[in-house]
């Protein structure tokens, strides 16, 4: 009798998961396996695929365009610590129990809600060298602003700044807010009795107590930093000028859907996966030690 019941539960389990699992097999698992195989081929869709063994990977190592995109990705990721600090700063501000603080919280969260192509178009207009908001504001204080998106030097900082503005009041601020509210107030009271200054309280109580959240935010930022930002590069600069904003995800896109180097693009995607994996492991090993909670 017990065996029959177990079998029935097994059958039910299979049935419930069948639609989802079928889709998972066809549209997730199958492509993942295919990506590994595709990376060893050269294929431009029009002709037949050619097996070239490790050819794509060796090409990768000597390809200046690939290393350029890797470098650009790293530079674009330097905005991460700034963005985290900005989110923490905003969280500290809206954590106060002032009247109407919820209004400020919502206002700061607002830009991240609007994220999307519409917002990117706005920023493209803001960065317009002659009539855009930024250079207009700079002209009020007598500065002649550069051609932000058209300058090899300024394009990446422009993207970084836009990213920070959009994201600083977003998810990370909410996460930090929750973390701040979870810190035991008795710790602060004890510090007050010892006469600690605000800075000391922040550095020795707040920061360590929220370190798990900091670690989480940093980990997720690193992962999405390596793989993401396709939309902004596509809309704002198209990878230029002179390839100075082409990051890994844009480079892979261009190789796959504009140049039709299917095998090569697939190999780059796998290398990207490896990079994310290694970065996450390094972060886990060394960053994990910094979590003092």
């Amino acid at each position: 009798m017990i065996e029959k019941k177990k079998l029935r539960e097994c059958a039910a389990g299979f049935l419930f998961i069948l639609p989802n699992f079928t889709g998972f097999m066809i549209f997730t698992l199958l492509p993942v396996c295919a990506a590994f195989i595709l990376a060893f081929y050269k294929w431009d869709i029009l002709t037949a695929p050619q097996f070239i063994g490790l050819g794509n990977f060796t090409r990768l190592f000597t390809d200046k365009a690939f290393w350029n995109s890797f470098y650009n990705t790293l530079i674009l990721m330097t905005g991460i610590p700034l963005s985290m600090a900005a989110s923490l700063f905003l969280a500290l501000m809206v954590n106060k129990s002032l009247r109407g603080i919820i209004v400020y919280r919502t206002l700061y969260f607002f830009p991240s809600i609007c994220s999307g192509i519409g917002l990117l178009l706005l920023w493209r207009w803001i960065y317009n060298p002659d009539f855009g908001l930024l250079n207009v504001l700079l002209s009020y204080i007598g500065i002649d602003g550069p051609n932000w998106l058209g300058s090899v030097f300024w394009a990446k900082p422009a993207l970084i700044f836009m990213g920070i503005w959009t994201g600083m009041g977003g998810t990370n601020m909410i996460l930090y807010l929750a973390a701040l509210q979870g810190v035991n107030p008795e710790l602060y009271e004890a510090a007050d009795m010892d006469g600690a200054s605000n800075w000391r309280k922040f550095y020795h109580i707040t920061l360590p107590m929220i370190s798990p959240t900091t670690f989480f935010i940093f980990t997720m930022s690193i992962i999405s930093g390596f793989q993401g930002s396709f939309d902004s590069v596509f809309i704002m600069t198209g990878g230029g000028p002179a390839g100075s904003t082409t990051n890994l995800s844009f480079h892979i896109y261009r190789n796959a859907y504009e140049l039709f180097n299917m095998g090569y693009a697939s190999s780059m995607a796998l290398v990207l996966f490896a990079i994310v994996l290694v970065a996450t492991l390094i972060n886990w090993k060394y960053g994990g030690k910094k979590v003092t909670y």
Partner: protein, 274 residues
């Protein structure tokens, strides 16, 4: 005035300046969207346009198939959301409440695929859909979109956190698994389901790269892709581009205002990126 009151006032002033700083781009957007084409390229620019061209908003609909863009985005996001929430709920119930051979190994496979960057799966998926002849059709967006490891994972965790007493009581009353699922588990999961629905809908509404790759005729495009197309076709008509962008942001704001409480909940439930 006490020192504390002065401090409070200064704090309010500072926070207000910060808020203005965050919102100035939006004022600029509205200002540009109401300008006449010639006034856009005026220096120094006027913040309040003269004349105020409300007609820009109507013109956007004529210059590009904006109605098609918006409708496509809405219908596709709706279909994917319904499909995804349903299949994820069924699968999550199976993972959380049922015992079957290979269950944990399969779940581990789901988790493992979540770590893989989208770029890895997109290329073979594109080739597969091309082979099936689904390119430039909505099938290419809806059907792969319905199956999400994230949704399954999130709901599984939530189901596992539900108390089993109600389900046990239903079982004693003679309900089969299907009835337990529909009449006990689902009603108890309304917050999680609502949160998942909102985030799935928003994520699909905003999705750019995949529809860009997969859709080719302009009438089939979703709003993000359509806006990029708009930018390509009319790159200097900033007044119209800003009007179009503003209209594309309005639904996001509306959803946020209606479902505000789900946003914080969603972030807590699974570190979902808003």
């Amino acid at each position: 005035m006490s020192f504390n009151t002065v401090k409070k006032i200064l704090l309010y002033i500072f926070m207000t300046i910060l808020a203005i700083g965050m919102l100035i781009p939006f004022f600029w957007m509205v200002s540009t969207s109401l300008k006449d084409g010639n006034n856009v390229f005026e220096f120094p620019p006027k913040w309040i346009p003269n004349p105020i061209k409300w007609s820009n908003y109507a013109e956007v609909w004529e210059v590009v198939p904006f109605a098609a863009f918006a409708l496509n985005s809405f219908l596709l996001a709706l279909c994917v959301t319904c499909g995804q929430v349903l299949t994820s709920a069924f699968a999550a119930f199976s993972f959380a409440r049922l015992n079957w051979w290979g269950r944990d190994k399969v779940f581990f496979a789901y988790l493992a695929t979540m770590m893989i960057p989208g770029a890895v799966t997109m290329i073979p998926l594109f080739l597969l859909l091309r082979y099936l002849g689904w390119i430039d059709s909505y099938k290419a967006i809806i059907i792969p979109g319905i199956f999400s490891a994230y949704g399954t994972f999130m709901l599984r965790q939530f189901f596992m956190g539900l108390p089993t007493e109600l389900e046990d009581a239903a079982r004693i009353d003679g309900c089969n698994l299907w009835e337990i699922f529909w009449n006990v588990t689902i009603p108890l999961s309304k917050p999680a389901l609502a949160t998942l629905s909102i985030f799935t809908f928003l994520g699909n509404w905003r999705n750019f790269q995949w529809p860009l790759i997969v859709l080719q005729t302009s009438e089939k495009m979703t709003l993000p892709v359509g806006l990029a197309y708009f930018m390509g076709e009319h790159s200097t008509k900033w007044n119209l581009l800003m009007a179009g962008s503003l209209m594309s942001i309005v639904p996001l704001v509306a959803i946020f205002l209606i479902g505000q409480r789900f946003f914080v909940k969603g972030i807590q439930l699974g570190g979902v990126k808003g």
